[in-house]
């Protein structure tokens, strides 16, 4: 019995990690900018949704969609006004985005984002029994939505003009520029879409718990570790890595103790950097995988 529930909860945990990491990975794969404000965007996106629902009484679906749009625009603006000026200077990019992250998260802490009332409602109430384990429908939805997002990303990058331009910029910036594709426009779009994906992940995942400031930092670490293990910029690598880390966390929680789980992702970074610094699929740089 316990093996079945381990399998199912591991799968759910993996899907959560993949959803968290995809937005970070997309922005990095296309623009080369490691967006350390990603965790903050995740939490702020969730908080905006909560505010729209609870204080303005706007229906859930509309609140969620407007939060995704707001954070998408916000991500693009971060690129346009801040990162564009320091693009290519990796250390400055990290410092700037991490600065934004601290400002946003600590501002939320300052205005009082603490307590159980800050939680998003689940999409569908109830749970089902699978192989003897009871699973919330919300958790099953997460798996479905992860698959959906991956398919949507694939279609976007292979069949739309903007998506194809994304792949061009990811491979060779100057060649793309000489064909009329403006790298700054594409990079700011990729940051916007990355942030929108992060917010989407927040809206899907946050109903499982409460919105807390500190989970913003945790999300960043989770996304980073999945991306580093999978090979930065590789979508296929991200999926594989989220399964490895996801199952490792679930097994640790079940057989060791839940408070060891945070160590798993950090340990994974340590091991992968010692054994294969470019990540599991980092060396291939296949574009299907980098999306």
């Amino acid at each position: 019995m316990i093996v079945y529930s381990m399998l199912i909860y591991g799968l759910i945990n993996s899907a959560i990690l993949a959803l968290m990491a995809l937005g970070f990975n997309l922005a990095f794969g296309i623009s080369g900018v490691a967006n350390f404000a990603y965790g903050a965007i995740y939490i702020v996106g969730g908080f905006i949704t909560w505010t729209l629902i609870s204080t303005l009484n706007i229906p859930y679906a509309i609140s969620a969609i407007s939060a995704i749009i707001i954070m998408g625009v916000f991500g693009a603006l971060i690129y346009k006004f801040i990162i564009k000026r320091i693009r290519g200077l990796v250390m400055s990019e990290v410092i700037a985005t991490f600065g934004i992250s601290i400002v946003l998260l600590e501002l939320l802490r300052y205005v009082g984002l603490i307590g159980f009332k800050y939680s998003l409602p689940v999409f569908i109430e109830g749970s089902v029994e699978i192989l003897g384990a009871f699973v919330d429908i919300q958790r099953l939805l997460i798996i479905g939505l992860m698959v959906l997002i991956i398919i949507a990303l694939y279609l976007f990058t292979h069949y739309t003009k903007t998506g194809l331009a994304f792949r061009g910029i990811a491979q060779e910036e100057h060649t793309s520029l000489s064909l009329g594709i403006n790298p700054d426009r594409i990079a700011s779009l990729s940051m916007g879409i990355g942030s929108a994906l992060g917010t989407f992940a927040a809206i899907v995942i946050l109903p499982l718990g409460t919105i807390t400031v500190d989970s913003g930092y945790d999300v960043l670490i989770s996304a980073l570790s999945v991306c580093i293990v999978g090979g930065l910029g590789s979508t296929f690598g991200v999926i594989i890595a989220s399964f490895i880390i996801g199952y490792a966390q679930t097994i640790t929680a079940m057989y060791l103790a839940p408070h060891w789980t945070m160590l798993v992702s950090l340990l994974a970074i340590l091991i992968i950097l010692a054994v294969k610094p470019s990540g599991l699929l980092g060396h291939q740089k296949e574009l299907e995988e980098r999306v």
Binding site: G88, L89, G168, Q171, E172, S178, L179, I181
Partner: protein, 248 residues
């Protein structure tokens, strides 16, 4: 149609292009002949606007200082400070040196990426047209561009530039690293492109022998300075050119 007026480009204090004035008229094939480090690529990057992007990036890094003097005008408009993608919209399209293709995408996808500025139906038409000019690419449609030979990559690179709808096409050393047989084939297709698509072509090369017979006019560049200027035939029969480039 293109006027470069007293162009000077410096990398730090080293001069790459020195008071260079050239002119390209509509419908011509103009050649820039020069050996390594003559300033050909710098000239191409300056005309296409890529150098402005490099300059900005170096500035941010606090790296190499690039300075540009002089004026470039295209279709009676001053484009000296215009950004590269705006110049592409005006019709100046550069095919960079060393077969610039997207190595991780397949051939067809490369052409699709290059069609960024076109609408979908026009894109399909154009892709068919490029397969007509370069039939060798048809069986390779689904192959990753990184696995193509140098000649095939160069055909694809020229095809990609054509997708961007150029009125003036800049070719930076298209013959680099290709076998003589493929060089001849490529030159033939370049002439065909001028004739069929009505594209004006500025080509820079160090292999003068295959290029000189097909160009209308040519400039010879040495250390960033203009040393000779004449029709293709004049240059072909010039004893100095013969000695320097044909090894006669």
């Amino acid at each position: 149609m293109l006027n470069v007026d007293k162009l000077m480009v410096f990398y730090e204090n080293a001069i790459a292009i020195n008071e260079l004035s050239i002119e390209v008229n509509r419908g011509e094939i103009v050649g820039i002949i020069g050996s390594n480090s003559a300033g050909k690529t710098t000239l191409m990057n300056t005309i296409s606007g890529l150098l402005l992007d490099t300059k900005l990036k170096e500035q941010r890094k606090g790296g190499e200082r690039i300075t540009i003097f002089g004026r470039i005008s295209f279709l009676e408009r001053d484009i000296t400070d215009l950004w590269a993608d705006e110049r592409v919209k005006m019709g100046i399209v550069l095919s960079r040196e060393r077969h610039p293709v997207f190595v991780e995408s397949d051939v067809e996808e490369n052409l699709k990426i290059a069609s960024y500025l076109l609408s979908r139906p026009v894109m399909r038409e154009k892709i068919e047209y490029i397969y007509k000019i370069f039939p060798a690419l048809v069986p390779l449609r689904k192959r990753k561009a990184g696995f193509l030979s140098g000649g095939e990559q160069q055909m694809l690179a020229i095809g990609m530039s054509l997708m961007a709808n150029p009125t003036l096409m800049l070719l930076d050393e298209p013959l680099l690293g290709l076998s003589p047989a493929i060089q001849v084939k490529l030159i033939e297709s370049i002439v065909a492109i001028r004739k069929e698509a009505g594209v004006t072509i500025l080509i820079c090369e160090q292999f003068a022998r295959p290029v000189l017979p097909v160009i209308d006019r040519g400039y010879v560049l040495e250390n960033g300075m203009l040393t000779l200027h004449g029709t293709g035939e004049e240059l072909y029969n010039n004893p100095e050119i013969k000695a320097a480039y044909f090894g006669v």
